[in-house]
């Protein structure tokens, strides 16, 4: 088997008296959709925040593409190719949808102060290219007609799509989605599922945190389950679904005994 795209080993994170993550290790293979589930407070988002640099880990390391990931430095993590969305949508509200995606290109652009002021041919080319790519990404997620709308005026589902487009603008190898289906209705969830399928079809690796177990089981190639900050299972959905520890975590131990 080839080396995984992302390999987290022994990640621990403590907030005061709460052990949010305890020795979590997992590996994500290139090209798969990897699901991370668990009951509320299991540490999914904490793990996510460590992975994308918002938190530093107390222990453990993450290797991405064979290289150690610069934990705790979000912009460098975005630079090496991990992009994320947020559980509670975090768009740049006052900017248009197009501008939001253009901000996502920031790390791939080179124009500095002088280039911007003098508007050199290189800066001009880069700017035009950024806009064209941003439009292309909005088309990809299906909201290009809303390009000039202000982000806060988009519908909930479209805001989720915009966040994905902005994440894609950083040219990630791994796209990490934090509960993208939260608050969506059935139609929107189906649309989201189609979009993730399309991303997988285009060769992107996706890490998916989700409460919607049906969505995760139907979509993911492999699933890991966190409970109280520990990984209690990791396998293909059909095996995870029958794992007694997983059932216990979700439904309580009586459900297993019965």
């Amino acid at each position: 088997m080839s080396t995984p795209l992302l390999e987290a080993s022994g990640i621990s994170k403590r907030f005061g008296g709460v052990q949010a993550l305890r020795d979590v290790s997992l590996a994500i293979r290139a090209g798969e959709v990897y699901g991370l589930i668990g009951p509320n407070g299991a540490g999914k988002t904490s793990f996510f925040n460590v992975l994308t640099g918002l938190y530093s880990a107390d222990q453990g390391e993450v290797r991405f593409n064979g290289q150690p990931l610069p934990l705790g430095v979000p912009h460098r993590i975005a630079g090496v190719g991990i992009a994320r969305t947020f559980q509670n949508i975090r768009l740049f509200g006052a900017m248009s949808a197009l501008e939001n995606v253009m901000v996502g290109r920031h790390i791939r652009l080179r124009t500095g102060v002088l280039g911007a002021i003098l508007r050199t041919p290189a800066a001009r080319r880069e700017e035009a290219d950024t806009e064209a790519r941003a439009h292309a990404l909005l088309r990809y997620v299906g909201i290009d007609r809303l390009a000039n709308q202000q982000a806060t005026h988009l519908s909930y589902g479209d805001q989720r799509r915009l966040e994905i487009a902005r994440a894609l603008a950083t040219e990630p190898k791994l796209l990490a989605l934090d509960e993208p289906a939260a608050g969506m209705n059935a139609t929107e969830t189906a649309g989201l599922r189609a979009l993730i399928e399309k991303l997988r079809g285009d060769g992107l690796t996706v890490l998916l945190i989700e409460h919607d177990v049906k969505l995760v089981m139907g979509l993911c190639d492999r699933v890991a389950v966190l409970d109280y900050g520990e990984k209690i299972a990791e396998d293909v959905p059909d095996v995870v679904r029958r794992d007694p520890r997983v059932i216990a975590a979700y439904l309580g131990t009586e459900a297993v005994d019965a």
Binding site: G53, L54, A78, L91, F92, G93, H106, T111, I117
Partner: protein, 366 residues
């Protein structure tokens, strides 16, 4: 009849250009040259307000000590263009430094920019109220330093300030002296006006270009959501420091111009009230919108002078005597104006299109 919009825009630019070119002569002839001087000051305030707008309007970092950079630029110019150093340190400086303006202004911009980064560095993790308090302290520290750096070595001449500052010289001509051009006597204040106007236009140009670039977008992104901006790959530390540094740069240039214009600087000119005044220009005019900020600066720079000019005769005709001293009236009306604008136009007189939408959205949500 339809007019090509491009042609219309060009015509507008030409008209504005002509108006700006003849402005000092028209104003000077109708109101006297003291009003040209007031316009010169308005131009300085435009530069200051635009500099602060980068920090407050674009990047959303509340800075209450901005005038410190104005002070840095002014004192640097004063030290390098007056005999003060030669008098205070005769063993080091044989003669007054007398640097040319084209060297002092960029140096002032650079040094002020460094101070901007210096202030920015410890405040990177702060936002909102906390940042405001730290920057306020920084502004006061600079002013108090200027006030007290006359001992043990007399660097700033303390509260007395530095005088005998040489006016800017361009092409061998000092800008505070009248110049005969094509048979017309052009007074010094007019020359200063053109000099300030050229630099103000440069500042506006730089602001417009920056706003519409990768960096401008990054600043607004930080203002809107810093966590998301970091996740998008923006190095928020560097981009914030850049905002502080560039904003301070404009302040430094304006300070140098101020020193050369006045011929005298003292710590008194750089108090907290001045910082707040510039902040008011930004907020009142329309945070984040360059045109709005210019409008705010012009209005707030001219308003007090207009009051001083109009309040006394008006009271005399109405009451037969002066009841309220125009100086106290000025602050009163200034306060009322702020309350009125913030109550009915919370996004400023001329808000940026986005800011307006943002506030409207908040209103709907509330």
């Amino acid at each position: 009849m339809s007019v090509d919009p491009k042609l219309k825009a060009r015509l507008g630019v030409v008209l504005i250009g002509v108006a700006l070119a003849v402005l000092p002569f028209v104003v000077g002839a109708s109101f006297g040259n003291s009003w040209v001087r007031i316009i010169d000051f308005a131009l300085l305030y435009i530069m200051l307000a635009l500099g602060l707008n980068i920090v407050v309007g674009f990047a959303g970092l509340l800075d209450l000590g901005y005038i410190a950079f104005y002070a840095v630029g002014a004192y640097l110019y004063a030290l390098l263009s007056s005999p003060h150093l030669a008098i205070a340190f005769p063993q080091v400086f044989a003669a007054a430094p007398g640097w040319p303006v084209w060297a002092v202004l960029p140096l002032g911009a650079l040094v002020a920019g460094l101070f901007g980064v210096l202030l920015g560095a410890p405040t990177l993790k702060l936002r909102g109220d906390y940042l405001a308090i730290v920057t306020l302290g920084f502004g006061e520290i600079i002013r108090i330093f200027l006030n007290n750096l006359n001992a043990p070595a007399n660097i700033t001449n303390g509260p007395q300030g530095i005088n005998n500052i040489a006016a800017a010289q361009i092409g061998g001509h000092a800008l505070n002296r009248p110049l005969e051009l094509f048979g017309v006597m052009v007074p010094g204040v007019h020359l200063q006006y053109y000099f300030f106007l050229a630099l103000t236009l440069l500042v506006i140009f730089v602001c417009l270009r920056l706003q519409d670039s990768r960096l401008g977008r990054a600043w607004v992104a930080i203002r809107e959501d810093e966590v998301a901006a970091r996740a998008c790959g923006i190095n928020t530390r560097n981009v914030k420091l850049l905002a502080f540094g560039l904003g301070a740069t404009f302040g430094g240039v304006a300070g140098g111009l101020f020193a050369g214009f006045q011929g005298f600087v003292s710590p008194e000119s750089f108090g907290l009230l001045e910082s707040i005044m510039v902040l008011c220009m930004v907020v009142l005019g329309g945070m984040g919108n360059i045109a709005g900020v210019i409008l705010g600066a012009v209005l707030l720079a001219l308003l007090p002078e207009a009051l001083r000019w109009g309040a006394v005769p008006l009271q005399q005709t109405l009451f037969g005597k002066v009841l309220i001293d125009p100086e106290s009236l000025r602050l009163l009306l200034f306060g009322i104006a702020l309350v009125v604008v913030m109550r009915w136009r919370p996004a400023g007189l001329w808000p940026s299109a986005l800011r307006k939408r943002e506030l409207a959205a908040h209103g709907e949500a509330a």
